[in-house]
Structure formats: C-alpha cells, structure tokens
C-alpha cells in the first residue's frame, strides 16, 4: 500500500503531526520558536553531511542539530551576547555554511527547493520507518519528562525545590527538538518546520483551557493541516511544506473566532 507516493506522504505527515503537536506546545509555552528555527536552519548542514558521507539524512540532521544546540548552550554561558543574537548568529551562519558546502559538492545534484520547502515525492518507505519509530521514541521520552518539563515551564524554582530536576528535563527536551526536526525535514522543509511546531499549537491555545487539551487540539490541528495541505498540494501542484503550513494558518484563523466568542461572553 506504500507504493503510491501520495499514501507514503500522507502516512509520513500524519506521523510527524503526532510529534509536532505536543512538542509545539512546549515550544510556544517556553518561547522557543526562534530556537526551533535555529535548529532547523542548521539542518541544511546536516543534509550536506548526509550526502557527503552517504549517511541517513535524519540521523545526520539529528547529530548536527544536537551539536548546534550544545554550542548554543556553551555560547550562552561564555559570552555576554543576548540569547536572540546568538540564535541568529548560529541560524544564519550554519545555513550559510551549508549552502557553501553544497556549492563544493558539484558531483551531486541538489534539489534546494525540496530541502527548503519539503518534497512529498522524496518520501521513501525507509523515511516512513524513521518517522514512525523516531516519532514513537520522541513521544515516549516526552511522556516520561512531561511532569518536570511542565512544572518548570510554570515555575523553575518550584520544580527545582520540589525535587523534579528541571535542568535534566530541559536538556532532554532540547534533544527531542533536534530529533523532531530531523524526522520532519524531508516532508516540511527546513524553512517551515518551525511553522509546523508553532501554528497548530497557537491555534490550540485559542481553544483550550488546560495543558492537556492544548496538546490534544494541537495534534488534531496538525493532522488536519497535513491532510488538507497534502491534498491541495496534489491538486494545485504546490510544494508540500508551504501547503501544509497554509492549511495550518487557515485553521489558526478559524480558531480566532472562538476567542472572539469567549470575550463576548465575558462582557
């Protein structure tokens, strides 16, 4: 049944939506959207690595993103530059280095547009395996660190005082971020992965009153975005990434009406 490229893309997208939903909520809560962007930009370097040394793209991207995250943490400790400047520095320099390296790799034909915006034709059966096993692992680990991560999102000192070890949860979450970018880069493209994390979560925020509900709605929003986006991508012959993100945007706009209603009710 995975012979059809469209079915493969759909199965891949659904797997990704299950993971980006919950992770995206934490990205929104912890104000990490720029951090996600930085990791995604550095993914290009990971892709070039994969081609150069003939590695699996997801694994290579995961390694490079994790290294960039570690470098960021070190720079935050050792320099006096503000966090957003460091993020911008790493995001654009790793993107630039990645593009320069591509220039040297003249023997390989790169589909740059596919890398930047996602390409549903590129999804193979192997990718499905990576997405679904990787995704399941990410969700299991997230479930394990859910309590300390949520508690430290609300208040770091409370979590630390009551013995939840928030620093460890934060470090693990950083690795999960690198992992989710690694498994979704082919599908959504590196410029738009952060959108897949943030937009369904932002939509869910508008219609939720508890953390669990927001995670649930964020997953549902992601799933709908993938399905709507991929069908319209097929219909209008557009890139898969932008189509999925555009669908997510439409859902977000619809969710704004719900806010308006609840504000009216309060008045």
């Amino acid at each position: 049944m995975f012979d059809d490229f469209f079915i493969r893309a759909l199965v891949a997208g659904i797997g990704i939506a299950f993971v980006t939903g919950p992770l995206g909520c934490f990205v929104v809560w912890r104000r990490l959207s720029y951090f996600g962007d930085t990791l995604a930009h550095s993914a290009l370097l990971g892709v070039t690595m994969a081609y150069t040394f003939d590695l699996n793209i997801a694994i290579s991207v995961f390694l490079i993103s994790s290294v960039i995250a570690l470098i960021l943490i070190q720079l935050q400790k050792k320099t006096n530059l503000p966090g957003d400047a460091l993020l911008g520095l790493l995001a654009h320099s790793s993107l630039a280095v990645g593009l320069v390296v591509i220039g040297f790799l003249t023997f390989i034909r790169f589909d740059i547009m596919g890398l930047l915006f996602g390409d549903i034709l590129a999804v193979t059966t192997d990718d499905l395996l990576v997405i679904w096993t990787g995704g399941a692992l990410i969700l299991i680990v997230l479930k394990l660190i859910w309590k300390p991560l949520l508690a430290s999102t609300v208040n770091y000192e409370l979590a630390e005082a009551e013995g939840l070890n928030p620093d460890r949860a934060k470090a693990i979450f950083t690795i999960l971020m690198a992992a989710v970018i690694a498994i979704s880069i082919k599908m959504v493209g590196l410029l738009l992965i952060t959108g897949m994390l943030i937009i369904p979560a932002a939509m869910a925020r508008n219609i939720s009153d508890s953390p669990q509900k927001m995670v649930l709605f964020s997953i549902i929003g992601g799933l709908l975005s993938v399905i709507l986006g991929l069908y319209s991508s097929l219909e209008f012959n557009t890139s898969s990434g932008p189509s999925i993100i555009a669908a997510a945007l439409i859902l977000f706009i619809l969710s704004l009406f719900k806010i308006k209603q609840s504000i009216k009710l309060k008045n």
Binding site: V28, W29, R31, K147, L150, A151, T153, V154, N155, E157, L158, A159, E160, A161, E162, G163, L164, R205, S208, D209, S210, P211, Q212, K213, M214
Partner: protein, 248 residues
C-alpha cells in the same frame, strides 16, 4: 551524621554569593519535624535566599545543607505564570505530584478556594492565587514546608485564618515549616524558633529571646520589640499560688 532523626533540613554556616556580592552568609539553622522556624529581617536581608539555599535551588553555595527529606512543599514569594500556558487551578494542583481528587478538594477547602477549582489560574486575584499556592503546597502532605511570605495580598481576616491553618498543619501533619513572615504577631504566637537576618544571622532563639535581643531592637526598633514582649503577657488567665487557673 544525623543523630536526631527529627531533623528535616540543616544549614551549616551556609551562604550564597551572586556576582561577588554576598546575598546572605554564615547561616546555621535546623528545621525539625513539627516545628516552625521563622525568618525575619528587613528587605534585602537574605530571607528568601536562605529559604532557597535550604530548598537546594541555589547550587554553588558556601557551607553545607543537609536535607533529610524529599517531600517538600514550597510557596515562593514571587511567581509569575506565563499566560501562553492555559492552566486551571486543578491542573496547577497536580503540577509537581500526582494526588487524588479528594486530597485536592480537601486542600482547596482548607484555604477557602474550592469554588475556584475549575477557574483559569490567570483569572484569579492576588489573594486568591496566594491561597491556591498554599493549597498546592499542603495538598501533597509534605514533610518540609517552606513558605515565603505566604499571605501577601490576602485580606486581613483571611490572613489570620491562614496563619492558624499553617499552625494546624504543622501539628496535624507533623511537618517542619520554614516560614518567612513580616507579621510579628504571628511570629510570636506560633513560632518555635526565630532567626533574625540582616545579611547574616543577627540573632536567633525563641521569639521572646529574640525580642529582648539588642541587635533585634536596633534593627526593628523598640516598638517591634514591645509587640513581641507584650504579646507574651496577654494571657486570658492567671495562675494562682496553688497552681489553679483563674480566668481574667
């Protein structure tokens, strides 16, 4: 070595320095089961810092902290919730530990905010939020309770009721309490041990001892000292020579 197994947390000459400035130094104190230790002192005297040292929030400290419990409840002085997170009072009660519904209801009833259980945390007033914070800390039945100005923003009658509640919790749960309070009446009536801070321990002992201490008088003024000492003599009865109790 811990010879006294009632000890929950013990600070030995502890201090904390932030960018070459001592926030507090040389603090030694012990919180035992069923006892209330109160920290008093002017603003910036290191009360909250001392509490955070005892809780293990600050890592690079001078001196040592011995902690003999992991069941800790904490009411921080300042807590700002980021409203990108939708969270109800009910979710907040489950934040650091999974407890059953009846324990949640009981704690919220004790602090008088059971009616807010399904309200969004962001919609509460300052005093309501403070009551929820206390409820959350006591609902997990901690062995050590650290309360950093727990009744700030609570109305006057509520303040008295909450202090009575805190005293009752220390008795019923037999938990040790480290309390930071400005309320000298409270300090007098319920506290077993007072530590007066001003960047270091300026004096400590029973409330009455501290009230008589000259350093305390210099720090808080003669009047504050009188509050404590006169309070001690506001009995509603006298003891006769035969040992009988006569009501006033």
């Amino acid at each position: 070595m811990n010879f006294n197994n009632n000890i929950l947390v013990k600070l030995n000459n502890a201090g904390f320095r932030q960018s070459e400035k001592w926030l507090v130094e040389g603090v030694s104190l012990t919180v035992e089961k069923g006892k209330i230790v109160t920290l008093i002192g002017p603003n910036g005297s290191g009360k909250s810092t001392t509490a955070k040292i005892a809780l293990g929030i600050y890592k690079n400290i001078e001196g040592t902290v011995e902690k003999y419990t992991t069941k800790v409840g904490y009411v921080p002085q300042k807590i700002s919730i980021d409203w990108t997170l939708p969270i109800r009072v009910y979710d907040f009660m489950l934040l650091t530990e999974t407890i059953d519904d009846s324990a949640i209801d009981e704690a919220l009833s004790l602090t008088g905010v059971i009616h807010l259980k399904n309200k969004n945390l962001g919609s509460l007033s300052g005093g309501e939020f403070q009551r929820v914070l206390i409820a959350r800390a006591i609902s997990k039945k901690p062995e050590l309770l650290v309360l950093d100005e727990p009744v700030q923003g609570v109305d006057y009658t509520g303040e008295i009721a909450l202090y009575e509640l805190i005293k009752k919790i220390s008795d019923t749960l037999n938990c040790g309490i480290l309390l930071i309070s400005h309320d000298l009446h409270m300090v007098m009536t319920a506290t077993d041990h007072v530590v007066c801070l001003n960047g270091h321990v300026c004096c400590s002992g029973s409330p009455l001892d501290v009230a008589k201490n000259n350093e305390y008088k210099a720090l808080f003024g003669e009047k504050a000292s009188q509050i404590l000492t006169t309070y001690e003599h506001k009995h509603d009865h006298v003891h006769s020579d035969e040992g009988e109790i006569k009501k006033n």
